[in-house]
C-alpha cells in the first residue's frame, strides 16, 4: 500500500469571521494576506513534507487552488520542484493540475518533465477539471471544461511520448512546433493518477485510460458505486481492475491523548471547513457539469462530497424552496450573527466524526476506522489528510510523527492481510480480463454494512 501525506497548505491565520462573512474561503479579500505569515507557512509546509518522508510516508501529495486561504498551493509545480530536490525517496504526487484552466498545456508538459528529472523519476502527475471557482479565477470558459481537460491531457501525453517536432492543431490548442527538449525521466511517461469527488464521467474516463482513481473523502456508499463503475468499465476495456487502480483520501488528526486530539481536531471545521470552500454559484458555473449530471442535479439532492457541494448548497444553487433558509442565507440577511454561525459550524463536530468525514483521536483509536475504510474499499493508495485550521507547526508535526510511527506500520499490516497492492507493486491495467469470467470483487459489501451512514448535510 502506498501511503501519502497530504495537507491543503492552508493560510491558517485568516480571521475566521472573514471567511464566514464572505460565505466561503474562495474570494476572501486578499487584504487579509500577510506576507510574513505566507512566507513562514510556505517554508513550514516544505519542512513538514520532508518530515513526513522521515516518518515513513511513501508519497507527498500536493494540490492546487486559486484565490483562497483554503489552500496556498496556487502554483503547485513550484512546491513540487522544490520537493524534488529536498526529498529523497518519496513520490511527489500531484492531484492534480487543473488542466482546463491552463492556457498552455505544452508548458505544463515541460514543467512536469523538469520536476521528474530533478527528482529522478519520483513524479506522479495527476489532472483535475478544477472546482468551479478555479474556472472563474482563471477565466476558463466552464462550458468547455471537459473539452479543455481532454485536449490539454492529450497535448501533454503527446508532448511526452510522440517524437517531435510535430504540429498540433486541435479544437482549443494550436502549436506549430511541439518538440520539448526536456522529457520526463520515467519512461514511457510518469504514472498518472486522477483524483475525483463523484463525477461518474471522470471515473469512466480513468478506467478507459487505466489511470488509478483517487476518491477525495467521498462517502463510502457512493465510493463503492464508483469503484464498481470503474471495474465494469475496465472489464469492457479488456483488463481486470484491482486495488492498484484505486486510492482514497481521508482527513485525519491524531494527538497523544483523546482529549487533546478532540480539542485540537476541531480546527478541521475552521471557517466551515471544506463545506465552505466556495459559494454554490461559484461551485457550478454554467456548463461545468455535463447535461446528464445537470439532469441528475435537477431531480435529486445528492451529496457531492468534497469542496463544499452539500445537498443544502445544491438546493441553494438550484434556487428551490430551501433558498436562503440555512445559516449562510440568514447570516447574509443579518438575521444571525457570526457567533451563532460558528456555533452551527462547530455543532456538527461529533456528527462529522460519526460519518467518517474526519477521523480524530489517538493512533490507537483511529485505527479501527481506518481499517474499516480499507476493508470496504481496498484502496492501493491511501492519502492521510492533515487537519485544516489554526493548528501550530508543533501540533501538526506531532500528528505526522504519531501517524508515521504508530499508524502507518499498522496500516501496512492490514493492507498485507487484506491483499491490497499498490500501483507500484502491480501496474494498473496490466492484468487481462478474460471474457465470460467474473471480474474481481473490488469492494467488501459486508464491511460496508458496518460503515456508518453519513449525514449528507455535514461536510468538513
Amino acid at each position: 500500500m502506498h501511503i501519502m501525506y497530504f495537507t491543503e497548505r492552508p493560510y491558517r491565520e485568516v480571521p475566521e469571521e472573514e471567511v464566514i462573512k464572505n460565505r466561503s474561503f474562495f474570494g476572501v479579500p486578499n487584504r487579509f494576506f500577510d506576507r510574513e505569515v505566507g512566507s513562514r507557512l510556505y517554508n513550514e509546509y516544505l519542512d513538514e513534507a520532508v518530515y513526513a518522508e522521515e516518518m515513513g510516508f511513501d508519497g507527498i501529495m500536493l494540490n492546487e487552488h486559486h484565490g483562497t486561504p483554503f489552500c496556498m498551493g496556487a502554483v503547485m509545480n513550484v512546491e513540487a520542484a522544490i520537493l524534488a530536490r529536498i526529498t529523497k525517496k518519496v513520490r511527489i504526487v500531484l492531484l492534480g493540475n487543473p488542466l482546463p484552466t491552463l492556457k498552455n498545456p505544452l508548458r505544463m508538459a515541460e514543467e512536469l518533465a523538469e520536476i521528474d528529472l530533478i527528482s529522478k523519476g519520483r513524479l506522479v502527475p495527476g489532472w483535475v477539471r478544477g472546482a468551479g471557482s478555479e474556472q472563474i479565477f482563471n477565466n476558463a470558459n466552464p462550458a468547455y471544461n471537459r473539452e479543455y481537460f481532454n485536449e490539454a491531457h492529450d497535448v501533454v501525453i503527446a508532448a511526452w511520448t510522440r517524437p517531435g517536432p510535430f504540429r498540433w492543431e486541435g479544437k482549443h490548442f494550436t502549436y506549430r512546433f511541439v518538440n520539448p527538449w526536456v522529457l520526463p525521466y520515467q519512461k514511457p511517461r510518469p504514472p498518472i493518477w486522477i483524483p475525483g469527488v463523484i463525477s461518474a464521467e471522470t471515473v469512466v474516463w480513468c478506467a478507459q485510460h487505466r489511470y488509478p482513481y483517487i476518491g477525495l473523502g467521498t462517502a463510502l456508499q457512493s465510493t463503492v458505486e464508483l469503484w464498481n463503475l470503474y471495474g465494469d468499465t475496465a472489464m469492457r476495456e479488456g483488463y481486470m481492475a484491482g486495488p492498484e487502480n484505486f486510492g482514497y483520501l481521508q482527513q485525519i488528526f491524531v494527538a497523544e491523548t483523546e482529549e487533546k486530539a478532540q480539542e485540537l481536531g476541531k480546527a478541521a471545521l475552521f471557517g466551515g471547513g471544506a463545506a465552505n470552500f466556495s459559494r454554490p454559484e461559484w461551485t457550478l458555473p454554467p456548463g461545468y457539469n455535463s447535461k446528464e449530471a445537470t439532469r441528475r442535479l435537477a431531480r435529486q439532492a445528492t451529496d457531492y462530497g468534497f469542496l463544499g457541494l452539500t445537498s443544502e448548497k445544491l438546493k441553494e444553487s438550484r434556487g428551490d424552496g430551501q433558498h436562503g433558509k440555512d445559516t449562510r442565507g440568514r447570516l447574509r440577511r443579518g438575521e444571525v450573527g457570526i457567533e451563532e454561525a460558528k456555533r452551527k459550524i462547530y455543532g456538527t463536530y461529533q456528527k462529522a466524526q460519526d460519518g467518517l468525514q474526519i477521523i480524530i483521536g489517538t493512533p490507537k483509536s483511529v485505527l479501527p476506522k481506518l481499517r474499516l475504510i480499507m476493508e470496504v474499499l481496498h484502496p492501493g493508495v491511501f492519502g492521510l489528510f492533515q487537519a485544516m485550521g489554526p493548528l501550530t507547526l508543533d501540533q501538526r508535526m506531532t500528528c505526522t510523527r504519531l501517524l508515521g510511527q504508530e499508524v502507518l506500520p499498522a496500516m501496512r499490516e492490514i493492507a498485507k492481510e487484506l491483499g491490497i497492492v499498490d500501483p507500484f507493486e502491480r501496474e494498473p491495467g496490466s492484468r487481462p480480463y478474460t471474457a465470460g469470467t467474473q471480474r474481481d470483487s473490488l469492494v467488501d459489501l459486508d464491511a460496508l454494512k458496518r460503515a456508518p451512514q453519513r449525514d449528507e448535510s455535514i461536510r468538513v
Partner: protein, 264 residues
C-alpha cells in the same frame, strides 16, 4: 393565450431549428434573450394581431440542438442570416432582446439589407461607457431573472416568465441557456469589442433602441454607445423611466405602441 402560437421543428441552415410562430401579416423576426424564450406574453399577442411573429429558438436552447460551429455571437448572427435566406424572409423587421439584440446588431453590421427595420431592446454586445454588464455567469441561475425587472409589484407578467414555476425541467432549461451563452459569450464578458466599429458601416436601416433607465443587467449608458456606433443610420433611442431590463413587460402598453408606430 395558449393555442395562439405553435412551435415547429424545421430543418434550416444545416440544422433542426425550433421556431415559434403566431399571428398573421408581414413577418416579424423576434430574437430572444440569453435565458431563452420567456413564454408567450401580452406584447407577443398584441403584435401578433397584425404581424406573423417568428421566434427561432437559439441553437443550444430548448428543442434546438447546439451548433458547434457557432462559437461566438458574430457567428450566431451568420447562422440567423442563413436562416433568413433559407426561409426567404429578408428583408425582414426584427426585434432583438438582450443577447438576441446583440445578435441582431451583429447581423446588421454584416449586412444591413437583410432587415427592413430593427428594434434593439436593452441589447448586450457593447461595453457600456458607465457601469458594467452584470456578470450572469457567477451567480445562481435565478439571480439575473430577479434582477431583470425594476418593480415586481407593478409588473404582473413577471410571475409568468418561463412558466412561473420552479420545476426540474425549467432548471435544466436555464442551465442549457446559461451553458450556451457562456460557450459563445464568456469572454469578453457579454460583448464584442469590434462591434462598435462595424456598426458604423450600417446605413439605410431605421433603428429603434429601447432601454429601461433602471436596467440592472445592461447599464442604460450602453444605449448612447449603440446610438453613437449607429451614427450612419437613422436611429432613435427611447428610455423608459422606472423600468428595468424588460420594458416589454414592465411598460407593456407603451412598448407595444412604440413598436407599432415604428414598424408602421
Amino acid at each position: 393565450m395558449a393555442g395562439d402560437w405553435s412551435e415547429e421543428i424545421t430543418h434550416v441552415a444545416g440544422t433542426d431549428l425550433a421556431i415559434i410562430k403566431s399571428g398573421q401579416g408581414k413577418p416579424l423576426l423576434v430574437l430572444h434573450e440569453e435565458m431563452g424564450h420567456p413564454g408567450w406574453l401580452n406584447w407577443h399577442a398584441a403584435l401578433a394581431r397584425e404581424r406573423t411573429i417568428l421566434i427561432p429558438i437559439q441553437p443550444g436552447f430548448g428543442k434546438s440542438p447546439r451548433v458547434e460551429a457557432i462559437r461566438n455571437v458574430h457567428e450566431l448572427g451568420l447562422f440567423y442570416s442563413w436562416v433568413l435566406r433559407d426561409m426567404n424572409l429578408a428583408p425582414v423587421d426584427v426585434i432583438g432582446f438582450s443577447l438576441g439584440g446583440w445578435a441582431a446588431a451583429e447581423m446588421a453590421a454584416a449586412n444591413p439589407r437583410q432587415f427592413r427595420k430593427m428594434v434593439l431592446v436593452a441589447p448586450l454586445g457593447i461595453k457600456p461607457p458607465e457601469g458594467e454588464i452584470f456578470d450572469i455567469f457567477v451567480v445562481t441561475q435565478r439571480t439575473p431573472l430577479n434582477l431583470s425587472i425594476h418593480d415586481p409589484k407593478t409588473t404582473p407578467e413577471f410571475a409568468l416568465l418561463y412558466g412561473g414555476e420552479r420545476t426540474p425541467e425549467q432548471y435544466e432549461a436555464f442551465e442549457d441557456a446559461r451553458t450556451e451563452t457562456a460557450r459563445i459569450a464568456w469572454e469578453p464578458i457579454l460583448h464584442n469589442r469590434s462591434l462598435p466599429y462595424f456598426l458604423q458601416g450600417v446605413s439605410g436601416l431605421p433603428t429603434q433602441i429601447i432601454w429601461g433607465r433602471e436596467d440592472a443587467l445592461v447599464p442604460v449608458s450602453a444605449a448612447q454607445a449603440y446610438q453613437r456606433a449607429l451614427e450612419n443610420t437613422e436611429t432613435r433611442v427611447t428610455i423608459f423611466d422606472d423600468c428595468g431590463h424588460r420594458p416589454e413587460i414592465e411598460k407593456s402598453a407603451e412598448f407595444v405602441k412604440l413598436i407599432k408606430e415604428f414598424l408602421a
